[in-house]
């Protein structure tokens, strides 16, 4: 497959349509700076890839190289397109047509790429190894980083890169890591559970060791209660224990009270008590006597008072008469009151006597009133005293009965507790003491039995915890096993990943070994250095592969060579890559101004190399600025009847932009001049 023709318009430096017909042998494109030589190369690259390799990452005022793919000058271009026609060995033509917004025609990959070889972005690889640009010759070769150079060689040689296998390994590593985290979490949880249950089990076993025999406990409960099988012994026994404790407390309280009753009864029977009763009877009798006297006296005083009160209206009348008589005075010698004839002095004496009588009467009433009140107070006092004495006496005399009554109440209460009290006596106290002891002992024994029964529950609990511990230990074992498997899988994946990388490295190494003679040959042909006639490559790194060049026994040309020498060495490397890519069906080599910074001698070497390349029927397209070099290329690139060549010169005008100035077909040379002519 070769390039047949190229047409482009409104593209890069060309405003109007540029049309180029490529001979099958070669085309040398010459012209001054800015005449459009590189635009031709750009058009070829853009046709194939749909983009251009510009200055990397360069951006100014928000624009980059991609914004200048299409014509930006004034006036605007009438058309914007790039059309590349390829012709295969059978003469069939294939057109790739692109505009700023569309792509049509033949699918580049289908056309040019041998799909049996695995490549990353094959279209880009085709463009990168097809077209060697001036500015990229050293950048992509000598000055390339070792790892990138390795990748370039790998891609250029079309060696399988196992990207899919590597990505798969990485994804598996990621998944395993995730699972490992989960397994570690499970392992930690299970271990924590084991530790917790072990601790709990240890504690339960200690408790169980201190407990009595369970069957003995059950026998005790059966002996002390009426419980049979099937009942919740612990709950029922706890009730009995509470009842025993209650009874013991009740008996103890009643015991104390009965003790008090007995004390009181003993007190009643004492001499002192009897004397007190007698004294009270005597005091009561005395008080009663005094009370009767006082009541008699009161009657007497009240009678006298009543009598005095009875005279009171008469005294009032006398007082009025007296007052009236005094007012009237003697009436004709006679008393106005009684008519009796009296002398004045008699009359006055009479009035005075009357007045004295009235005053005596008033004083008596007053005196009697006081006496009545005093006597009544005395009587009340005596009555109160009498009542108190009677009450106290009654209390003393009835105490015995009260004691009996209270005892009867306790008897009833104790009867409710299932015990009879015979009488208020020491015997009763003895009975109560027995009951207290019995209840307390029963409660105590039942409590012990209960504790034993609780232990039986402890045993159940121990069984439960032991079961849980077994499960937790199983979880730990499972998690450990899982972690072991994950570790093993992770190691295997890591080893697989390394194997993938190593295998890839070894394959490329093999490829490189196959490529090395060509690289050395091209280096020798281009002769970058007068003494160092050979270049060697050196691969380093097991997994991360690096490719370096060496000349003169271990010297690095990128630090030793001048820019021209680097370019020559780089050309050897890139041409070797170009010639070795069997996966590309396009037999065309495009060089964009490859001789910059190269002296005439090495330019001549390059021309001879291109001539040698042309011998294998490869199409060569080369741009150069120098006209004499263009002529040299035209003579040496071996134009013949089958694979002719041409030389075109590009020119630039403001109106058209870049366009073809002249085109000259290179005639085949005379076959026999020196030998056999």
């Amino acid at each position: 497959m070769k390039i047949k023709s190229l047409r482009f318009s409104g593209f890069r430096g060309a405003r109007e349509t540029v049309s180029l017909d490529f001979p099958p042998g070669f085309m040398v494109i010459t012209g001054r700076n800015g005449s459009g030589k590189t635009t031709v190369c750009d058009a070829i690259e853009f046709s194939l890839t749909g983009c251009l390799r510009g200055p990397p990452d360069k951006k100014e005022k928000g624009e980059n190289f991609a914004d200048y793919v299409w014509w930006r000058g004034d006036p605007k271009a009438d058309e914007e397109f790039v059309a590349l026609t390829l012709v295969d060995d059978n003469g069939t033509q294939h057109v790739i047509h692109r505009t700023p917004t569309s792509e049509s025609g033949t699918e580049v990959l289908t056309l040019l790429y041998d799909g049996d070889v695995a490549l990353d972005n094959p279209v880009q690889q085709i463009a990168r190894t097809l077209l060697l640009r001036d500015e990229e010759i050293t950048r992509l070769s000598v000055h390339l980083k070792e790892t990138e150079r390795f990748d370039l060689v790998r891609a250029g040689l079309g060696t399988a890169d196992f990207t899919l296998a590597e990505e798969k390994s990485r994804e598996v590593q990621r998944l395993l890591k995730k699972q490992n985290e989960s397994a570690l979490d499970e392992y930690d949880k299970a271990r924590e559970l084991v530790a917790r249950q072990t601790s709990e089990l240890s504690e339960l076993r200690s408790l169980a060791a201190e407990a009595q025999d369970i069957s003995e406990a059950k026998a005790t409960i059966r002996e002390l209660t009426s419980f049979g099988e099937g009942e919740d012994l612990i709950l029922a026994t706890k009730e009995v224990v509470a009842n025993c404790r209650y009874k013991a407390d009740a008996f103890a309280r009643i015991f104390r009270r009965i003790q008090e009753l007995i004390d009181r009864r003993n007190q009643i029977a004492s001499e002192e008590y009897l004397q007190r009763v007698k004294a009270l009877e005597s005091q009561t009798n005395e008080t009663r006597g005094a009370l009767r006297n006082a009541e008699a006296k009161l009657d007497e005083v009240r009678d006298a008072f009543q009598s005095a009160q009875d005279l009171s209206p008469e005294s009032a009348s006398f007082a009025m008469l007296l007052k009236h008589g005094e007012g009237l005075g003697l009436q004709k010698g006679a008393c106005p009151l009684c008519g009796k004839r009296l002398a004045q002095h008699e009359f006055e004496s009479h009035l005075a006597e009357l007045k004295s009588l009235l005053q005596t009467r008033d004083a008596r009433i007053q005196d009697l009133t006081t006496k009545v009140a005093e006597t009544e107070t005395h009587v009340r006092s005596l009555r109160t005293q009498e009542a108190r004495l009677i009450a106290e006496h009654d209390s003393l005399t009835h105490a015995s009965g009260q004691i009996e009554d209270e005892f009867a109440v306790f008897q009833q209460e104790v009867l409710g507790l299932g015990t009879e009290l015979p009488s208020l006596s020491e015997q009763t106290l003895s009975v109560l003491r027995e009951r207290i002891e019995e209840s307390r002992e029963k409660a105590s024994r039942l409590e012990k039995a209960l504790a034993a029964l609780e232990v039986s529950r402890l045993v159940d609990k121990i069984n439960d915890v032991e079961g849980g511990l077994r499960i937790a230990s199983g979880r730990v074992e499972l998690a450990t096993r899982r972690l072991r498997k994950l570790s093993s899988a992770s190691n295997l994946t890591k080893e697989a990943l390394n194997t993938i990388r190593r295998t890839r490295g070894e394959l490329i190494e093999r490829r490189l070994a196959e490529l090395e003679p060509l690289m050395i040959e091209l280096y020798q042909r281009l002769r970058p250095h007068v003494d160092w006639h050979e270049v060697r490559y050196r691969l380093r790194g097991d997994v991360r592969r690096m490719l370096s060049f060496e000349v003169g026994g271990g010297l690095n040309p990128s630090f030793m060579f001048s820019s021209g020498q680097c370019r020559a060495a780089g050309l050897a490397f890139l041409l070797a890559l170009h010639l070795s890519r069997k996966w590309c069906k396009l037999d065309t080599l495009v060089l964009d101004d490859p001789v910059q910074h190269i002296d005439d001698y090495r330019a001549l070497q390059l021309v001879e190399v291109l001539s040698a390349i042309r011998r294998s029927d490869r199409q060569v397209i080369c741009t150069v600025e120098d006209r004499s070099l263009a002529s040299l290329l035209a003579r040496r690139l071996r134009s013949n009847e089958a694979d002719s060549g041409s030389v075109i010169s590009m020119v630039y005008s403001s109106e058209q932009g870049a366009h073809v100035g002249t085109q000259r077909f290179v005639q085949p040379m005379a076959r026999r001049v020196l030998v056999g002519a």
Partner: protein
Amino acid sequence: MNILAESRTLLEDAGYTTSEHSALVPSFYFEDTSVMGVLYELASLEKLFDHWKELQDSFLATHAQQFTTAPSKAWNIYSVYITSQVADIPARSELMAIEEDFQSTRKLARAAIITRRDLDSALLPLLPIRHVPSLTAEDADEELRRRLREIEENAQLFAAETQPSEIVQRLLGDA
């Protein structure tokens, strides 16, 4: 090694036609569709340095008439001077100076031509690409699978169609 005979064979194998050249110095002519020239074998470096220009001029003068009939091809004349004597550093520089002299013919001046390989290197500018890589066919995937199998049977899953999640299951024995 018979330098002359080997050189002729080499160039003929590369598509050149050669012919005897009667001269004081052992030599022969060669020509193909775009290049022609003469190859001299010189006994020593001294002779080479002393006679190369004389030999070139004599050759051009002898065939001047023929060259005028093919002016374009006449630009592609090579004069090749070869000696088996090993050159020291000054001599190497002198040889380089001869090659960098672009007057009249393209000159190849090489010393220490002892083996066929040396000859091959010396005549490279006239020869087609010598070491076109004949990259061996490889089944990279099978190679990778084989390597992975050596680790463990399951490892080859990485080179198969198996999905990562399925690989994980297989590696862990969950599948």
